[in-house]
Symmetry: C2
Amino acid sequence: MDVKTLCLGALTLGDASGYEIKKMFEDGPFSHFHQASFGSIYPALGKLGEAGLVSMREQSQDGRPDKKMYSITESGEVALRRKLGKTPADDRIRSEALVMFFLAEYMQPERLEKVFDGYLKSYHDKLNCMCEPDDSTLPPHRQFTRGLGRAFYQAAIDFMEENRHLLLGEEHSGDAK
Amino acid sequence: MDVKTLCLGALTLGDASGYEIKKMFEDGPFSHFHQASFGSIYPALGKLGEAGLVSMREQSQDGRPDKKMYSITESGEVALRRKLGKTPADDRIRSEALVMFFLAEYMQPERLEKVFDGYLKSYHDKLNCMCEPDDSTLPPHRQFTRGLGRAFYQAAIDFMEENRHLLLGEEHSGDAK
DNA sequence: ACCGGCATGTAACGGGTTACATGATTTT
DNA sequence: AAAATCATGTAACCCGTTACATGCCGGT
């Protein structure tokens, strides 16, 4: 599944600019299962436009630069449906932090602790930005996706907090803070 | 973190061939936080050898092709420690299945159900191949890593089984099997 | 005055996957 | 007899990231 397809998917949520699509991958609904950078999004939107799968209109804004707002077209939806018809590839995860935990013996204890705390915090952040809006107004399949994301992050946070000692040792850490 | 570093990490578990390292990424301990293919592992081992970070000896086997067994050298360990000293990059996840769930409205219900069942099964499989060996003999930081992986998969499985209806509808599914 | 956020784009570079090439042996 | 597992390796290709290039506006 390439960035073109992902952009089509993003545009099913409503018209958006390249910049806004990027944010969907950073903070937004896509953030916990895919990511993409400007360098892939802008060319993708260009190609989708050439192929007639999206349309574009320029929108001037007061106080901010112009936006190029993209909309998915009917043939875009057809193309999206076709892409979604293919068997999904296996999940691909790469977590350098987990590699470090796995190889903890090769790290300095203080560094390990910093990496651990940073990792835990990043999960807290992701969980927070996934809780704000009220779920019950979302269509059920979106509730499912968000719920799964939350379950994911919550389980990881709980485990990490309860098992900190396995990785970092007893550390007379007690409950200082 | 490139495949070279990952190979060094894999070799800290003991000597191994390229083929065996590949399996570590497929089924083994690395499988839930990284993956790599032959096309990246073999060249990586070659380069590591040239750089003196691993050593190699050929091992003939009865009934099977020869193996090239690699060992990490002392300078290899130094290099690994240095690589692990860098700040870890953010986790990078790409899950086509979750994209499909997110865009469920654009999929045929029967296909969606098949994808869902396949995805759930793959998680069951991953969890199973992560439970067999007895944990208590592992060093604590490895218990941590495995435990986190398990917590991860278990939470996802529980959520998916409890919330199947959100994605697939009521389906008069009751408890037929 | 400077930094951060908004906004778009390009080009080079790197890295890994996919596919190809080969071959023996065991299981079905 | 075919398929799967064991075993190694190369080369082309794709795709995406990183870095660069540009510019305006608002807040500190």
